[in-house]
């Protein structure tokens, strides 16, 4: 069973990297929509949105890349975990809120409400990343 941790690490890394790539590339091609979503969360000052939006987008893509490469995986998992803690906090604070332009949870521009499901998905992703950090 020596191979089991390796399989878990690879599977978790591939799945989370895929999620981050999808999410990050959507935001990359649609930076205004993501900025509007961040504004609607009302957790950040207006002046910071033009910096935070692109930074989060790039951080997601970097985490995806680093998770795929074994020699940077630990760093990628650490960055991903930090992002997940931010996302979890934001969704927990805005649970039940309706967002006209989407909640930034893998879909932009489609009206959406933050639900327990979003919170659970973020928690599962965080758990996968913590597992990668522990087993790596």
């Amino acid at each position: 069973m020596n191979w089991l941790p390796e399989v878990v690490v690879w599977t978790s890394s591939l799945v989370v990297a895929g999620l981050y790539y999808r999410s990050g590339s959507q935001k990359l091609y649609n930076p205004y929509a993501f900025r509007e979503i961040l504004r609607q969360y009302q957790l950040l000052p207006e002046w910071s949105l033009n910096w935070v939006g692109p930074s989060l987008t790039v951080a997601e893509l970097l985490a995806a890349l680093w998770l795929l490469l074994p020699w940077t995986r630990l760093l990628g998992a650490g960055l991903g975990a930090a992002l997940q803690i931010l996302f979890l906090t934001a969704t927990a604070l805005r649970l039940g809120t309706h967002f006209p332009d989407g909640c930034g949870c893998f879909e932009l521009n489609i009206p959406k409400e933050v639900t327990w499901r979003n919170l659970a998905i973020n928690a599962v992703v965080l758990a996968a990343l913590v597992t990668v950090i522990r087993l790596q």
Partner: protein, 148 residues
């Protein structure tokens, strides 16, 4: 060594992406502010016809259709209804938003007006030129639709 090379390449890549995204975001915001603040398009349209305001979705916001909300709010506050004329890139996205916002949506108009070089003539970077172009295009389309 491998780690150092990967870090260097990925951080350069991250910097380029960050800069590109910031520039893109700025272009969209300039475009929107030039479209919204002096209500040139809307005031011109007010005299052109009554009842409906027509907007070409890619002109409202070259990167995404979030700006549609703001335009819709502005237009409806003036007592007009908004019709969205879609472009090919937004076919998948606009109907969902239009349905959610109860905005009349006529994708068939795109096929009729396909001769207008809206996409080619208006790259995202040319935001400040948008209002005049939109006004001309929309007023022309509106008259054609009215007389049809």
């Amino acid at each position: 060594m491998l780690y150092a090379i990967t870090m260097f390449v990925s951080l350069c890549f991250a910097f380029v992406l960050f800069r590109r995204t910031r520039l893109r975001l700025r272009a969209v915001m300039e475009c929107l502010s030039s479209l919204m603040e002096p209500p040139a398009v809307i005031s011109e349209l007010e005299h052109g016809f009554s009842g409906y305001i027509l907007m070409l979705a890619p002109m409202i916001d070259p990167q995404c259709c979030s700006g549609l909300d703001r335009v819709a709010a502005r237009v409806t506050s003036l007592g007009h209804r908004l019709i969205v004329i879609d472009g090919p890139r937004y076919v998948a996205l606009i109907p969902k938003l239009a349905v959610a916002k109860e905005i009349p949506y006529f994708p068939s108009l795109v096929a009729v007006r396909n001769g207008a070089p809206c996409h080619k003539a208006m790259p995202a970077e040319s935001g400040p030129q948008l209002p005049e172009y939109v006004a001309r295009y929309v007023a022309k389309t509106a008259k054609e639709v009215q007389s049809a």
